[in-house]
């Protein structure tokens, strides 16, 4: 059985997109922290605004993407708002995609 790492989870999350912006949640800077312990994965993430109409869908997408990884046994996605998201948190790759 391959060992799962936080980097592995992060790579998987690069395939979860903010549907409105078309940018993945990692490059958008929404993922704050990932911990992996004995197949139990905790993801701390934020949203570009607490009033994001697709918040539930994005959080569910993150949860589904992590759950699909081997050997994950449980997933805990936590939304955090402090500090609030700002555009400075977008990765250089993400900025390029947004046309900066």
């Amino acid at each position: 059985m391959t060992e799962l790492s936080a980097d592995g989870v992060r790579s998987a999350l690069r395939f979860v997109f903010d549907p409105e912006l078309g940018l993945n949640v990692v490059d958008l800077g929404l993922i704050r922290d990932i911990t992996v312990q004995d197949g139990y994965v905790t993801v701390q993430m934020t949203l570009s605004t607490p009033a994001c109409p697709l918040a539930g869908t994005i959080v569910q997408g993150v949860e589904q993407a992590v759950r699909a990884l081997e050997p994950v046994t449980a997933v805990d996605v936590q939304l955090v708002w402090d500090p609030p998201w700002s555009p400075e948190q977008i990765s250089p790759e993400g900025r390029k995609q947004l046309g900066w």
Binding site: F15, F17, L21, G22, P50, G56, T57, V77, L98, W100
Partner: protein
Amino acid sequence: MIAAQGLAGARPKTPLLALRVMGVGMAAFLIVSSGLALKTPLLLGSWQAPHLLAFIHLALLGWVTILSVGVLYQMLPVIQQVELWGEASGPFVLAGLAVGTAVLAAGFWTFRVPWLVAGGTLVVAALLIFLVTMAGTLQRVTAWNLKGVYVAFALGYLALTVILGLAMALDFRFGFLGPTLGRLLVVHAHLGVIGWLTLLIVGVSYQLVPMFGLAHGYSERPARFVLVLLNIGLLTLAVAVLADTTPLLKALAALPILAGVALYVGDMVRIIRRRMRRRMDISLRYMLASLVYLLAATATGVGLLLRLPVERWAIAYGYLAIGGWVGLVVIGMSHKIVPILVWHVRFGNRLGLEKVPLPNDLLSEQLGLVVLGLWSVGVVGAAAGSVLRLPAVVQVGSVMIALAAWLAVYNLGMTVVARGDDQESGG
């Protein structure tokens, strides 16, 4: 396990209802735009002609208000971060509003007073349920934000508008309003278009435009002044019209509205220029175009108060305000909201599990821009033709508007079947 603290209400819970709302609204949109293209002599007559009033009510209630009501069921919880209260009221409001508007429009078309009263009563009843739902939701708010305040004022003006409308319908039967009826009609129209629709659009645009453009770090002060100016202007304008003061005093009473509109337009342009997402979204292009019409409509309104000939300019004023300002915003937002709703139903559950298209991939942006061009030019044509009394120009403008409406509905309808897999995908 998902811990979604702080996410109260921030989920599209009723996308299927919202799509039904869109369906009803789009049907009214097609009837009005096609009907006016077939009945262009109406656009060269009086703005108070019953047939024209039928179209105006079908447009403002059946298309714009139904969509706005649907949007608020989704957006108010998002704007104020509260759970929606009385969500089950949605289908009743939609049904009452749709049937009531149809009866009301038929009442104007045939000028049957009982139909006007019955349709108006049904509309008021449906909107009363809607207003109670919104009031119950707002009662849950512990920390108000400016956008929520805008919506609350808009809802208040909606109540005033429809109550005044019903009173006028009853006046056709009982004749209790006397010579003030004509003045009340002007107040009713402005409460509806400025108080209800413009305040709602302005408030929601302060929520959505920065969100769609990723604009951060701008001051909220101008938005506060805009709210104050529009409210004061609407109140002073209503008093001046009801008191039937001199043209100059009426124009002075409307100046706060002109100032509020100018400030809003400048502020929106500033926010759009500050966006981090450089590629301009289609809804933002519609928004920018609509701002030009908002300025033109406001200037025309002040001109009418200063004695521009009503018989030549009133219909042009309506075209600029309803078709240009309100219409372009609604069509633009539809191009944004419909793909997201459809995407949510078709692909939302598959995000993170497999490759899914993005909402924008479900729509042809090029066709959306063609619609923007046709509609914009058509509105100018219909308005100019009405002012200059040129039937051929009115006809061409009206046909362009109708064509734009059908193309827009086709484009939006195709999102239901579009594969959207020929562009960038995620998941």
